[in-house]
């Protein structure tokens, strides 16, 4: 052999244990021992890594076995379904600001995108509105936190927008054979939404910040419901009505009842807010709130004062008028004049909405008994309480106000 051949053979020897190559097992175990001697922490980390590898190998082995494979796959499918259910439930129960809320919204958007017929879309919007109303009532029950007011106002504007969308859909489908069934769905859904919105209990801290928007959303939903009822009533006047009399009458009766409830609540609220005489200042400009008419469009936003006696009287008169109109609705329904009843119901709704919008701008003050001989029993904000409020509020004697 030449020198070159010998050198090559020496190099070849390296790859054999006989040529001085240690076994892999020894190399690894010796490394572990060495690392444990020089730094126990490093070995701990390595062990965790090895364990991970071990578990992975274990699962690989399980899946490679023909008998175990179907069981393992079934187990995985069940685990996936369970996880999916947990996530969906969590998302459904979530509120704005929660980690799962974006999933809920994304799911809604996907459903909306997959709904092709107007019927399906209307059903989804109705469901969405009811979900938003539920979210508002749950959010309102939470203690005041950052972003809460913004979230509620956002939800109310969504309800208002959805109600408008429903209105549009009804209009688009008015000549469709399904118009009546769509209207029935919308009417049922919106009355549910209105009921939910009316039952929202706002804490005093956020009441004056969200009440106007909430009133607006309720009004929008109500208007949509009335429009749907109109479609049903119009159907009755046709030669071949598909909706029975009793159905429309029943729905109208439901709305009348809800309106009476609203009147009752508003009356109680107005009484609680009224004082013997109060001059309120809107946006820094002093005005005497003695006018007999109230412009709903100029709903005060910064007012923290209470309502003066003449305004109270005016508001109560309006509510009385609404109540009388609702009585007329009852009368017309007895005569089976659903169209006339609907017109009157709209009138009553408009009055209630006007009063509601005005009243929602006021926040209730702590009540103390006011001794006033002119008013028999008035529980209202004491003058001392008003003194403590901001500069925009002034209390003036009844005589000077007049």
């Amino acid at each position: 052999m030449s020198n070159r051949e010998i050198i090559q053979k020496i190099k070849d020897l390296k790859s054999f244990e006989a040529g001085g190559r240690p076994s892999d097992a020894w190399t690894l175990s010796n490394r572990e021992i060495l690392m444990s001697q020089i730094c126990p922490q490093v070995v701990e980390n390595r062990t965790t890594k090895s364990e991970k590898v071990y578990y992975w190998q274990y699962f690989s082995n399980v899946f490679s076995q023909k008998v175990v494979r179907p069981v393992a796959i079934s187990f995985m499918v069940v685990a996936l379904l369970l996880t999916y259910n947990i996530v969906v439930n969590k998302a459904n129960a979530s509120l704005p600001g929660d980690a799962f809320y974006p999933i809920k919204i994304t799911a809604e958007k996907i459903q909306e995108a997959l709904a092709f017929s107007d019927e399906a879309k209307i059903n989804l919007i109705v469901d969405k509105n009811n979900t938003r109303a539920d979210e508002i009532s749950q959010l309102a029950m939470r203690p005041e936190q950052e972003g809460q007011v913004g979230a509620i106002n956002n939800l109310t504007s969504q309800i208002a927008q959805n109600s408008q969308d429903l209105k549009e859909k009804l209009k688009q489908n008015q000549n469709d054979p399904k118009a009546v069934s769509l209207a029935a769905t919308v009417e049922a859904g919106t009355s549910q939404t209105v009921e939910k919105l009316n039952s929202v209990k706002l804490s005093p801290e956020i009441k004056d910040k969200v009440a106007p928007a909430l009133a607006q959303a309720t009004l929008s939903a109500k208007e949509t419901g009335t429009d749907a009822l109109k479609v049903l009533a119009d159907n009755q006047r046709t030669s071949n009505p598909t909706v029975p009399d009793t159905d429309v009458a029943g729905r109208l009766n439901g709305q009348v009842k809800a309106d009476f409830e609203s009147i009752k609540d508003l009356t109680a609220k107005i009484n609680s807010l009224s004082v013997p005489a109060v001059a309120t200042t809107i946006s820094g400009k002093e005005t005497k709130n003695t006018s007999s008419t109230i412009d709903a469009s100029s709903t005060p936003t910064k007012i923290t004062s209470v309502i003066d006696a003449s305004t109270t009287k005016d508001l109560l008169e309006k509510l009385k008028k609404a109540s009388t109109t609702l009585d007329q609705v009852d009368g017309l329904l007895e005569k089976k004049d659903t169209a006339g009843a609907l017109i009157k119901l709209k009138e009553a709704d408009a009055i209630i909405a006007e009063v509601s919008k005005f009243v929602s701008g006021f926040s209730e003050q702590p009540k103390v008994e006011v001794k006033d001989i002119d008013k028999p029993v008035v529980t209202s904000t004491a003058t001392s309480t008003i003194d403590k409020t901001d500069k925009d509020t002034k209390v003036v004697p009844l005589a000077s106000a007049k």
């Binding site: 052999m1 020198n3 010998i6 020897l13 054999f16 040529g19 001085g20 240690p22 190399t27 020089i38």
Partner: protein, 190 residues
């Protein structure tokens, strides 16, 4: 050593007492050090023990903050010293020594292993030829042709001048060639 820059960075990390880096250093050097020791002690069990000791000792030096110019050579020097210690201890226990003619035929274990692993008469001849080399010849052959060290690095490890190392290497190769050609079936002379 394929990437000198990466190795330099690794050595710096090792010198700064980074255990993870020392783990990587171990991965790079364990085979070489084991082989270097194995050809000196002719037993895989002994080679394993001494290799373990070498890496532990090296880390202890690093931890003590002693100045290490070249970690590459340094670990070989520790290995060399450990082998010397091993033989010193062994000579106290038995009368046998490295060059004891009564010592058991070196590379017996290696020969058995080789025969089990492959049927290559040339490799067997080379292995047998190496087994009959003087210890200092074996050392230079392993360092130069197996571990592929430079003459400078070898000189540092063996504590000799580069000229001496060249001469030693030349003689070792010549002796190995003679030994190989003396093996049965390898009588060809170049």
């Amino acid at each position: 050593m394929k990437n000198p820059l990466a190795d330099k960075i690794l050595f710096l990390k090792v010198k700064s007492q980074d255990p993870e880096a020392y783990g990587r250093f171990y991965d790079l050097y364990v085979n070489r050090i084991y082989r270097f020791i194995f050809f000196k002690v002719n037993s895989s069990a002994e080679a394993q023990d001494i290799t373990s000791e070498v890496f532990l000792k090296c880390w202890q030096y690093i931890k003590e903050g002693k100045e290490i110019k070249n970690l590459n050579s340094f670990v070989y020097i520790i290995a060399r010293n450990k082998v010397i210690d091993f033989y010193r201890q062994k000579s106290r226990e038995t009368t046998s020594s490295i060059n004891d003619p009564d010592a058991p035929e070196i590379m017996d274990e290696a020969k058995d292993l080789l025969l089990k692993q492959m049927q290559d008469s040339d490799l067997e001849s080379v292995l047998a030829g190496m087994s009959h080399l003087k210890d200092e010849y074996k050392e230079v052959v392993v360092l130069r042709f197996m571990d592929e060290l430079s003459i400078g690095e070898m000189a540092e490890i063996l504590n000799k001048t580069q000229g001496s190392v060249r001469v030693l290497l030349h003689r070792a190769l010549k002796a190995l060639k003679e030994n190989v050609n003396e093996q049965p079936g390898n009588n060809t002379k170049d």
